[in-house]
Symmetry: C2
Subunit: 147 residues, 2 copies
DNA sequence: AGCACGAACGTGTATATGCACTCAAAATCT
DNA sequence: AGATTTTGAGTGCATATACACGTTCGTGCT
């Protein structure tokens, strides 16, 4: 399987393209979520914390495929606004995180706004392209997981 | 064309997936570029500035599909390390940017490292998936461009 | 019990990202 | 020419991202 020579135009850079797509998509979701005051990352984080009950940073790091130290900081806004609570578990190294009542209420409120964003994106792309994109992303992440 | 009801699992979130992919891919390229001291964004930026000769922030913003104010800040490391120079054009509002000699040399040095990263990613994904991913991303960006 | 190792987490530092706001200069209108 | 609008760019603020390093605590070994 010989590969064609890599052309060096930056648009051929997989990293450049994926990052650009992330920027674009982020903007769209942000616009929809703006009324809640939640950023898209906070929405995801709050969703996982709500769903997973008391959960540690380390586990969240696995679930979200995000660096542990990034999560520590991303949690700050949620802690400050009282949407998430932090407690120490039996293992005193571990910090358990749980959504507060306000947190769960906020997530419920944000959910339809997220759905609207998702719908807008999927409608714009169409069913086929949506499926293609998600499929390609999922398979790519599998292949790149061990690098 | 009725869409199936959106399941609300966060993994069904296009934004979540694209952002996750961007994080993963970024890590891989970063590892390769580390010896140069360049971040992947700086590499892209330096590449465009080198290729486009004297170029304004606004034009770079279009080329890179990145917010103008983000570029202003992303340029700082490159200016500080003397890889890029800033000058004022005839239109005194416009700031022209150009790669210095050191900048062009640095880009040349980084290019094979970028190519190695790109090659590693493409090899891991295989030709078909690479093509699928790029195609899906390109078409998606077209569809989402006007939202 | 005491020690060595690994696990879980936070901090320092640096970059990336973009919205709202402001400033200065060019272009256009009257 | 003078006033208004438009354009190009920087700053303040807040968040997102992750590597290197340090700290604390559990675990297992002797």
């Amino acid at each position: 399987m010989s590969n064609p020579p890599l052309r060096l135009s930056p648009t051929e850079c997989t990293c450049f393209r994926v990052r650009g797509a992330a920027r674009r998509v982020t903007q769209i979701y942000s616009r929809h979520l703006a009324p809640t005051g939640l950023k898209i990352s906070q929405f995801s984080l709050l969703g996982f914390v709500s769903a997973e009950g008391p959960v540690s940073i380390g586990r969240l790091s696995d679930l979200l495929a995000t660096d542990r130290t990034t999560l520590t900081r991303n949690l700050n806004p949620l802690l400050k606004s009282g949407l998430v609570e932090r407690s120490v578990s039996d293992d005193k190294r571990r910090h358990e995180l749980a959504a507060t009542l306000a947190g769960r209420a906020m997530f419920k409120r944000a959910l339809p706004l997220w759905a609207a964003a998702e719908q807008e994106v999927r409608t714009a792309m169409g069913a086929k392209l949506t499926s293609d994109l998600h499929g390609a992303l999922e398979r790519s992440m599998e292949k790149l997981a061990t690098l």
